[in-house]
Amino acid sequence: MRFVDEYRNEPDARKFLHAIAGMVTRSWTIMEICGGQTHTLIKSGIDRMLPEEVTLVHGPGCPVCVTPLELIDRAIAIARRPEVIFTSFGDMLRVPGSGTDLLSVKAQGGDVRMVYSPLDAVELARKHPDRQVVFFAVGFETTAPGNAMAVWQARQLGLTNFSILCSHVLVPPAMEAILGSPDNQVQGFLAAGHVCTVMGYWEYEPLAEKYRVPIVVTGFEPLDLLQGIYMTVKALEEGRWAVENQYTRSVTRQGNVPAQRLMQQVFEVCDRGWRGIGTIPNSGYRLRPEFAAFDAEQRFGVETIRTEESPVCIAGEIMRGIKKPHQCAAFGTLCTPEHPLGAPMVSSEGACAAYYSYGRA
């Protein structure tokens, strides 16, 4: 298949692996930001093909994993209301809240529907004027433009029965939180190619400079990742720190400017809680006051919910790159995809699910 097979062939993979092995002189710890990258690494077996000096740790870039428990409980409370059609991307449906998950709400009679785009939710609202349609707007900068467009369109259409439950998160503040933490072990980053397709990479330049850490914007195919790792190791070995772009077929320094403009019109930056990590200042988006009518939290006035995390889950340490999934006492025993204790075991992008599914115990 064009544009896929070119990035998945064995001879080129061997060349990169050979080049990395020939260059590395000491151990390095590199974090891939995005859960999609984690899955490609494990699914194609790259983690086991690299020289032992190169350790990959898995970053917080899985929207399902970092969405706060409290918000999932709110989603569940809203989805249970009889007038609501609750819409979400597929992999949010199985994430455990304090007591249950959205799929179970569906099994108990809640109208919970999986959609492929927030614009499908707007269309549902248009078709069902007698129902309240809520979209669970989670994710990083990658999904923010689509969600902004949904709200924008709903306003254009004059819809009064559409709202979003918003929990957007931003990558650069999370990277800064990891780098600034006293137990940080990360020496180089593979930045998330899709986030940078929207945002560009100029935001990362001050981070690379301040923490003297190489950041390579990297794609999602096996050869993208191998090249990204090669570029990061090369920079580390040469003592350079800068932002470099491996994913040139998709990413420019400025990013997608019209998308950024739309996001700024609809959203504003706010402090945001990250599941397993805690609150990070200026690390999220919320709706601007002029779009408050589309805010599901305000519309449904869900009161404060008492949440309860599993005491044994170490998701936070995993997402900060301090521990690996199989170092968790509950991994594969108390915590499995059938009975997840934390979100990284649920999402197809979660590090624990990747380790479990692809047999990294």
Partner: protein, 366 residues
């Protein structure tokens, strides 16, 4: 599970529901996804109930856990017996409909026992309000598929439920077939050195259904591979006889769930080569877009054959000679390493375990 109410001695297993109620107090869709939760229902609830351990008369036919049961009659003949229910939505999809599917599903379960299908039963559960003309089209399609497969519908049943109590129409079919002498198909016969073959590109049925259900438009429509496979199986058996060790149709849960079941039952390892698994460009593209792994997507006209290594090339040739096997390929082998596990060699030469799916595959956020 309900406790027996009569004075019949209560078997110990029935005292408590064996599936931890605390985890699953209600049935979820994932219990029907063909993955680990479905397997859990079968292994922990159904099999212990219907084939209790430690009883004098064992239920060997069920214990085999094959696509169909193999029954020894008083004479020399062995019968295959199987049943399947069809709840597909939408009822009409590119490449088939619920009627033709209801024939193909059960005929294929019989074929995977190595049997020649003899007769089918059909049970309809109809929802009040189903347009008569739709029912007629489905019945016509079912009749045509049965005729094409050379099998008669010999008995049936009809129930109608109130509007809102079903989704238009559900169909159950059951079938019996005769297993020719010299054929011995069973998961336990898979042994190290055997080759794993498939008769064509994977994941077409699941993607065809999803494209209609979710309104996803592709450049050309992906058609379901729904087809009756007993003819194809007949030509494999003619060619290799008892060197054909296992046959399975990878329906719900896809190729990986089926191979995991076989690996578990036969205590052998299976090694797959990703680059040799046939898949159409359209289907692969759809899976890439949706974030689905085609190894877990349903098929309705595919047969996995595990055959003795020396018969591999001949079986491949026989498959490719058949209209339903033109895209056949050898996709892997049975190994003595990692018993119970399926390991895949990726396109770039890495290795990973291909596990059974836990519920249904859910499309990713981004």
């Amino acid at each position: 599970m309900e406790a027996p109410t009569s004075s019949v001695q209560r078997p110990t297993f029935a005292v408590q529901c064996p599936i931890p109620i605390s985890e699953y107090p209600i049935v979820t869709l994932a219990h029907g996804g063909g993955g680990r939760l479905t397997q859990m229902l079968i292994e922990r609830m159904f099999v212990p109930a219907f084939a209790p351990q430690g009883e004098a008369s064992r239920n060997l036919a069920l214990e085999m856990l094959h696509d169909g049961a193999i029954l020894q009659t008083d004479g020399a003949a062995r019968l295959a017996f199987s049943t399947d229910s069809f709840v597909v939505s939408p009822r009409f999809f590119p490449g088939g409909d619920i009627g033709s599917l209801a024939v193909h599903g059960t005929v294929n379960d019989l074929a995977m026992c190595g049997a020649r299908p003899l007769a089918l039963s059909v049970g309809f559960i109809l929802e009040e309000g189903l347009p008569m003309d739709e029912l007629w089209r489905i019945v016509q399609s079912l009749a045509a598929a049965a005729k094409c497969a050379g099998v008669n519908v010999v008995t049936g049943d009809t129930k109608v439920v109130e509007r809102g109590k079903a989704d238009g129409i559900y169909i159950n079919t059951a079938g019996i077939g005769v297993i020719p002498a010299g054929v011995d198909i069973a998961p336990r016969r898979a042994q190290a050195g055997d080759l794993v073959l498939i008769n064509g590109p994977i994941a077409q049925h699941g993607i065809a259904i999803m494209s209609v259900r979710e309104g996803l438009a592709f450049e050309t429509a992906v058609e379901s591979d729904s087809a009756a496979l007993h003819g194809l199986v007949g030509s494999i058996l003619d060619c290799a006889g008892d060197r054909v060790h296992v046959l399975r149709d990878p329906t719900r849960g896809g190729v990986s769930s089926t191979l995991n079941e076989i690996a578990g039952q036969a205590h052998i390892g299976i090694q797959l080569n990703e680059a040799s698994i046939p898949i159409d460009e359209q289907v692969r593209g759809a899976c890439e877009i949706l974030g689905l792994d085609p190894l877990y997507v349903a098929n309705e006209g595919k047969c996995l054959a595990i055959v003795a290594r020396e018969a591999g090339e001949a079986v491949l040739a026989a498959l490719r000679d058949h209209p339903l096997g033109r895209g056949a390929a050898i996709i892997g082998e049975v190994v003595a390493d990692h018993p119970g596990k399926v390991v895949l060699r990726s396109r770039i030469g890495g290795r990973r375990i291909v596990d059974m799916l836990s519920g249904e595959q859910l499309p990713r956020i981004c």
